[in-house]
């Protein structure tokens, strides 16, 4: 039973800078939670507070039912994988993995069994006698995981564990870590700045900015129903397009968002308050369509292609429309080339609308 809960947690550094003003977060037992956000958003600090590496200025932090503010890291029943792996350079792989157990005065044969078991799972058996220096990046990464595993922690903390690996290895390790989570059945808290990692691995994702949780939800919900402009922009690649649009009452009933010559019809009551005002209209790159069946007259925009990026199965087009930079993802066969003009329809169902001042979602 090891959920984690933050109750009104505040983190202020000695120099007076408050990085986390008031954090409330409930992580459930056996859940894989990803903390994601741009650098400096407080995600690492949050993780390090769980680890006990960073003191808590105010508020309460629980692992399970235990208040752990004053509990030193070794008694928190956690394990952590660091970005740089933090393997002890003067110890062999075996020693690295056994170190914590030795300190806990576990009998030798039990240590041996546990280390071998973890090494087996991670495919490290042939490397047990090597020093970390003699290992490749991926192997070091696995040793770091193994060192955490042998302790049977209630909570696994991972701080950007994949950012030092090359792209191919990263994808591989991503699935390995997900598999490990299922195998071990413990709580995982994973910090990353990479939204792809967050989306692919997390049961739930906690998007943070400036020490404040923006949204804490499943990957699908974050993508489909971002609660504000920041989350909408942060999740998804290429980024969601943001267009300033004016709200008008449509002749046919309902409302329309106008930008340039385009009118996007949206029949949502929430927009009543915004008639005549400017809002931000968010459209994901894949919600522009070049196919005829989406053309409903006014939802079409005609734009010149500034740049085209052929990705193989699909194509990213960078457009300039009414002074706005847009990016769209279209199937490769519809792709036109740089300099040409393209007609695209906006998918009416998938438009997000944000308040220009509060940046909160109005409707989607």
């Amino acid at each position: 039973m090891a959920g984690i809960s933050f109750k009104n947690v505040v983190k202020t550094y000695d120099n007076g800078v408050t990085v986390i003003p008031d954090l409330n977060l409930e992580i459930e037992d056996k859940e894989f939670v990803v903390l994601v956000g741009p650098s400096g958003c407080g995600k690492s600090t949050t993780l390090r507070m769980i680890a006990g590496l960073e003191s808590i200025s105010e508020g309460e932090l629980y692992i399970g039912d235990r208040l752990i503010n004053a509990v030193p890291p070794k008694n928190r029943n956690i394990a952590m994988v660091f970005q740089s792996y933090a393997l002890y350079p003067h110890m062999s792989v075996y020693k690295n993995m056994a170190f914590a157990l030795e300190l806990a005065k576990m009998p030798k044969d039990e240590i041996d069994r546990k280390v071998k078991e973890a090494a087996e799972i991670l495919g490290l058996i042939p490397y047990l006698d090597r020093k970390p220096k003699a290992l490749s990046g991926g192997q070091r990464q696995r040793v770091a995981l193994g060192r955490a595993m042998v302790r049977n922690p209630e909570v696994f903390l991972l701080d950007e564990p994949l950012s030092n690996l090359d792209a191919k290895l990263r994808t591989e390790m991503r699935s390995q870590i997900s598999k490990l989570h299922k195998q071990l059945g413990t709580t995982f808290v994973y910090v990353t700045h990479d939204q792809t990692e967050a989306m692919t691995m997390g049961d739930r994702i906690c998007v943070m900015k400036d020490g404040i949780i923006q949204q804490f939800d499943t990957p699908q919900n974050l993508y489909d129903y971002p609660c504000n402009l920041f989350v909408a922009g942060f999740i998804g690649s290429p980024q969601m397009n943001f267009i300033d649009a004016t709200v008008v009452e449509a002749a046919e009933g309902g409302y329309a968002l106008c930008f340039g010559e385009t009118k996007v019809m949206i029949d949502r009551e929430e927009l009543a308050l915004y008639v005549g005002k400017t809002v931000i209209c968010g459209i994901r790159p894949e919600d522009f369509h070049a196919e005829e069946q989406f053309f409903h007259g006014s939802n079409v925009l005609k734009a010149e292609i500034d740049l085209d990026e052929m990705m193989g199965s699909e194509s990213y087009l960078y457009l300039n429309y009414a002074g706005q930079k847009l990016v769209t993802r279209v199937p490769a066969r519809y792709a036109k080339r740089t300099g040409e003009t393209i007609e695209l329809a906006v998918d009416l169902v998938k438009v997000h609308v944000f308040d220009k001042e509060t940046e909160l979602t109005i409707c989607q």
Partner: protein, 280 residues
């Protein structure tokens, strides 16, 4: 096409280097030659060939009751080894304290050490001797190595080395593994600092071995004298009456062990010198 001037420069470079090498080695060559010659041979003039009196000179020096060489070597070894051990261990400890922890006085403490980085100890010698006298440590070896606990230059080297070679995450990993702070220092940090410790231990050893000013003020008892004091006492004795073979032999004893160690470890020492002044 530019080969010629470069060629000339190479030749000049070699000539200068050979002259300098000669200057550096020549004196030691004479030293060792003369240490092996009879007093009367030395008086007669200079020779490039070694004599036959090496063992005799050595025996004479070791036997001489006025210059207690054996205890001098022993004292020098004790003081220098302890100095080296203390200076490196405590400097690493201090550097680690300032490197790995955040506390209010961290910055002032660091600035303070940097300010006294090259402050010579001679300026406080007067008070030092006074204090030693009051603490009843005059004529003991303690005042010769205990001050090494505070060695700012060694500290600075250790600190720079930690910056480049000791990621803080390693310390944090140890914390999570359940390693206490002191144990982390001794079991994780020290092994990583080994190369830096070795280099600094050599320097600390040598500078303590060669130290003359403070020991000469602290020690007056013959049995506590270190080698440099013995050599100084040789100089103040009536020089002309002295067996020159013994003089050269004593100098040899003072110098040669260091040279042997130096040649054996020269690679690391030279690399260490280069690191000393340069950042990172």
């Amino acid at each position: 096409m530019e080969k010629k001037p470069s060629h000339v420069r190479t030749v000049i470079a070699y000539i200068v280097l050979i002259i300098l090498t000669f200057l550096c080695l020549f004196f030691f060559y004479i030293l060792i030659i003369n240490a092996s010659r009879h007093h009367s041979e030395i008086q007669k003039g200079f020779s490039f060939l070694p004599g036959t009196a090496f063992v005799r000179n050595l025996k004479n020096v070791l036997k001489d009751a006025n210059i207690p060489v054996v205890s001098g070597i022993k004292n020098s070894l004790i003081v220098s080894s302890l100095s080296a051990a203390i200076a490196t261990y405590f400097s690493a400890l201090t550097a680690y304290g300032l490197y790995a922890y955040n506390f209010k006085l961290k910055k002032p403490a660091f600035i303070f050490i940097m300010l006294i980085l090259v402050m010579p100890t001679q300026v406080s010698a007067l008070g030092f001797i006074n204090l030693i006298t009051k603490m009843k440590m005059l004529n003991t070896l303690y005042p010769l190595f205990l001050p090494s606990i505070a060695a700012p230059a060694v500290f600075y080297f250790m600190y720079s080395y930690m910056q480049s070679s000791l990621p803080i995450e390693l310390v944090e990993a140890a914390r999570i593994d359940g390693c206490g702070e002191f144990r982390t220092f001794n079991r994780i940090v020290l092994p990583i600092m080994k190369p830096a410790m070795a280099v600094q231990a050599i320097f600390a050893f040598v500078s303590s071995w060669n130290n003359f000013f403070i020991p000469a003020l602290v020690i007056s008892d013959n049995s506590k004298k270190t080698l440099p004091i013995l050599i100084a006492s040789l100089r103040s004795a009536d020089f002309l009456k002295f067996d020159m073979g013994k003089v050269y032999m004593l100098i040899t004893i003072a110098i040669v062990p260091i040279i042997i160690v130096y040649i054996a470890l020269s690679k690391y020492i030279v690399a260490g010198v280069a690191l000393g002044g340069v950042k990172e």
